[in-house]
């Protein structure tokens, strides 16, 4: 019984981690694409003292600290909350 719970928790952790990694790579890719486009629209070569690579790196650092990116932890939190609610609803009288 307790062993089953541990096994289920380990499996859920594994699946959540895979989903988290995939989704975070996706949103970072979208953000990088947008930063590249922003640069290409805003500046001609040599117009900005900061190079294109630095501009993108700075934008990515800011993005990693943003609330939107941190909310990706909900990928772990929401299914866990859902499981707890399910256990409660299923087993209380």
């Amino acid at each position: 019984m307790l062993f089953g719970l541990l096994r289920g928790a380990a499996l859920a952790l594994l699946v959540s981690t895979l989903v988290y990694l995939a989704v975070s790579a996706y949103v970072r890719s979208l953000r990088r694409q947008k930063l590249e486009q922003d640069w290409d629209v805003a500046y001609r070569p040599g117009e900005n003292p900061e190079g294109r690579a630095e501009f993108i790196a700075r934008g990515m650092r800011a993005f990693r600290k943003s609330l939107a990116y941190r909310l990706l932890w909900l990928i772990y939190a929401v299914p866990l909350a859902f499981a707890v609610v399910t256990v409660w609803v299923m087993n209380h009288q």
Binding site: G8, V23, S29, L30, R32, A83, M90, N91
Partner: protein, 215 residues
Amino acid sequence: MWTAIKWTLVGIVVVVFGGLLSYTLPSHDVVRVQETYNRLTTISSSNAMFYASSDRTETGPEQRDIYFIRGVFPDEKVKVYRNEDTGWIWPPYFKLDSSNLQAEAANLASTRDAPQWVVITYYGWRIPFLSVYPNAVSLRAVDSPDVTVVPWFNIIFLTFLALCVLLARRMWMQFRLRTIAPMIDDVNDALEDVSESGEEAARRARGFFSRLIGR
């Protein structure tokens, strides 16, 4: 030929996935509980996947005491439900209270002349040929057999699932655009540099990679 293979594979995926959803998602029946009982049940390799998995280590057919609930529909058709804990993994109902459910079902049992209707929530299929029974998950008493049960959970879950499929599709397209395509371009650039004797091989390799990514 390839079209036929492709559509066969698509068909298999749809049938398997649809079957999985149909088996696992909760359904509702309005029945009268005629009787509750437990029976020593033989579980063989052909239907073991439709029962709760056990912790035993020995192999071969297994005998186990299982709770059952007999339901009778308003039109006198019958359906027998098993009542087993699901445990913690699959299907994720986290049902641990089968003894309580059995007591509730016994308490709501009624006769044909004075029926007490109940909405029984269950998942699974009844396959008489394999001795497979749907698993009752919960039940509640209702006044009339004409009650309408809105499958809220299934509506929300299937909507969420559709959104997940759309997201996965967009993620894959982004991955192709931003990760795979540049890699192919690099390979093609490298192949451009190959000496004349390598022209033919390069052309073939380009064709191969183009086909791999489908453009």
